[in-house]
Assembly symmetry: C2
Homo-oligomer: 391 residues x 2
């Protein structure tokens, strides 16, 4: 019996574990399906870059699955107009009736629209979405693969940048550290990963869930520097003012008519200089936070692989039209446990997911958030102790 | 017999292993000396922040020695005028005749000047310098503690940022990654750590040892993007034009009348946008490159500890007025070996150390440089293989 054909692709920004999901899927899928690869995300669907899985690539991927980046190529192609029937035509030419995409909000939206077009054209198509986002902005899942590793990067980088600043506090006193996260604050919040006491960095965290209040900000920075001699401040790239306008976007994005978030740390560091006269340096954590191999979380990696395998199993069982989710089970003897669930793909598409109010605290997030976060990153990561230099 | 008194301090920017040198020194020194700590670098000498080593701090440091940052506080205090006799007075009040500073060029300069002042004042003072710099700009040593770890960070971060960019090359094509390094290119050059073939990132490396030629740069970027579909470009913060003028300095440094290198990546990314019309993003690796715990090199850590211990031994033997150095011994069965040497502190002070011409290559550095670098970082770090997506 000829196997049914499935195509799998990756879309949107990469993560440290997106290749693990690809590998998990392929490992299981090859037993039941003829697998094809969609290169370069939705662009590859539209431009017919759909290639059969070769045994050579299968071998290579088994060694490459723990490497960051999207190894099939991804990108940010926004499907529109004629793209939809064109993509369906290319799938039809290859007799592919199953499409699996690993991606975030925009990707799930694209999958839903592709399914609609297929229905309109009377082409039988089943879609499954595998979640992936460092921003953790997907609804209906406890968290998304990719977030745990990025959160680990942010938590450890902020810990180390703060230790660096503390050594230099008689030279410079404020660092404004910018994280990714788009319009939600999950990654900025992760900077509190190893914080235990008020005096531990980061001292202040600003997230898009709360409008940025310049006066309160300057007062808080000034007080922090008075109290501890320095201030480590974390800001999310998507920070907004009271009117919901984003504070800063990268000028280089605008130049090419593309809007890319980023640069808010420079805007805010300049504020501190102008208004408080303190030496303040902007640090944008940049692309490494979503693609660091060193900071990959083992738990994140396990979950990314497991969710890929489960997608292939459910595809075989005919459970389609879903995005897979991660459900947190009740801890057994304090040990974190998860299981894989699902929700209809159309429910998740295009939504956003702010940090819920019960995780928010006065200067960022509270200890419940940290308890929620720790197992996703690994319980072995630690903060640095306070040294007693003078007896 | 009462033990002689020695004071040790840390100065200049921190590294991932500067506390290991402190610990190595103290571990050995406590057997022969009464040890005091100079807090906050030279500022602590001038402002009398010199405290006895407590048993509590000794215990804490034994656990803290592998943590980045300068745990005594350091800073960039530039000694001048009345600072010198004041510092000597504070040492004299405490009957301290031995001063050990862990630092870079500026620190060695300061030690030499302090010694001169002491001589002028007929105060018996012996100084020893322990090298420390991520920039690797100290003369008369094969390399300096701190460089191996920072080089590892740069090499791995550029590898991962390139893997990230490659996944997204249908969305953005150029990343300009900025490293530290002051007026020399050692850290930018370290981005070639795991590069094996021309097509491997980073594709282009620009260092202060060669004047930046805008036309050649634009041509090279354009060709690289045509050939590989994307370009990973590394630039050193201290890049200069043909007239020896630094291309860019941080505006926030200027605002407070301090000149701080940095920002050249933004200047160059904008060039690519304006002149080539390619999506180009600036990435400044920032402070984490000198203070990352995850990227610490074990070899660097071993050497930093060993050099601290040797300083205490030589101090006991009366070998003073030196900066300790690291000498590379002939490899035995291809295994890297080092031994600790010394040079007169006045020979090293204030000098700079560009990458020698035999390490330079057409698009950055050559393979001899990488062979020289690899053992300092660890031979276990690897690049990512090229995947064959299409049969």
């Amino acid at each position: 019996m000829r196997k049914l054909r499935v195509a799998i692709g990756q879309a949107g920004g990469p993560t440290a574990v997106i290749n693990a999901s690809l590998w998990g899927f392929i490992l299981e899928a090859v037993h039941h399906f003829d697998v094809s690869l969609v290169l370069n995300g939705f662009q590859g669907l539209v431009e017919d870059q759909i290639v059969p899985l070769s045994s050579q690539f299968y071998e290579q991927l088994s060694a490459y699955q723990d490497i960051p980046g999207s190894c099939l190529g991804s990108g940010r192609w926004k499907l529109s107009g004629e793209d939809f029937p064109l993509a369906i035509r290319h799938l039809k030419e290859k007799d592919i009736h199953y499409l699996v995409m690993i991606g975030g909000n925009g990707t799930m939206d694209g999958c839903r629209e592709l399914k609609k077009t297929a229905d309109d054209l009377n082409y039988e198509l089943a879609v499954i979405g595998i979640p992936k986002t460092v921003d953790n902005d997907l609804q209906h899942t406890d968290h998304s693969p990719g977030y745990g590793s990025a959160a680990k990067y942010v938590g450890l980088a902020v810990r180390d940048i703060a230790a660096d600043l503390k050594s230099m506090k008689n030279f410079e006193s404020v660092r404004i550290i910018e994280t990714m996260g788009r319009h939600v604050g999950w990654l900025a919040a992760a900077s509190a990963l190893v914080k235990q006491h008020d005096e531990d960095p980061p001292h202040l965290i600003y997230i898009p869930e709360k409008p940025f209040d310049q006066e309160a900000f300057l007062r808080d920075v000034s007080e922090t520097v008075k109290q501890y001699g320095y201030a480590t401040v974390v800001v999310s790239e998507g920070l907004c003012d009271r009117n919901g306008n984003v504070l800063s976007q990268l000028p280089i994005g605008q130049t090419l008519n593309r809007q890319v978030l980023g640069g808010v740390s420079q805007y805010i560091a300049q504020l501190v200089i102008d208004e408080l006269g303190l030496f303040s340096r902007a640090e944008n954590l940049g692309m490494i936070q979503r693609s660091s191999r060193l900071a990959r979380s083992s738990q994140d990696y396990r979950e990314a692989t497991a969710i890929g395998r489960q997608a292939a199993q459910w595809l075989k069982e005919g459970k389609v039209g879903i995005m897979l989710t991660i459900e947190r089970e009740a801890a057994v003897q304090e040990e974190y446990r998860f299981r894989i669930g699902s929700c209809p793909i159309e429910r998740v598409a295009g939504e956003e997911r702010p940090i819920p109010p019960h995780f928010l605290g006065e200067r960022g997030v509270n200890s419940s958030f940290i308890e929620w976060l720790r197992p996703l990153v690994g319980l072995d990561v630690r903060g640095y102790p306070e040294l007693k230099l003078i007896e």
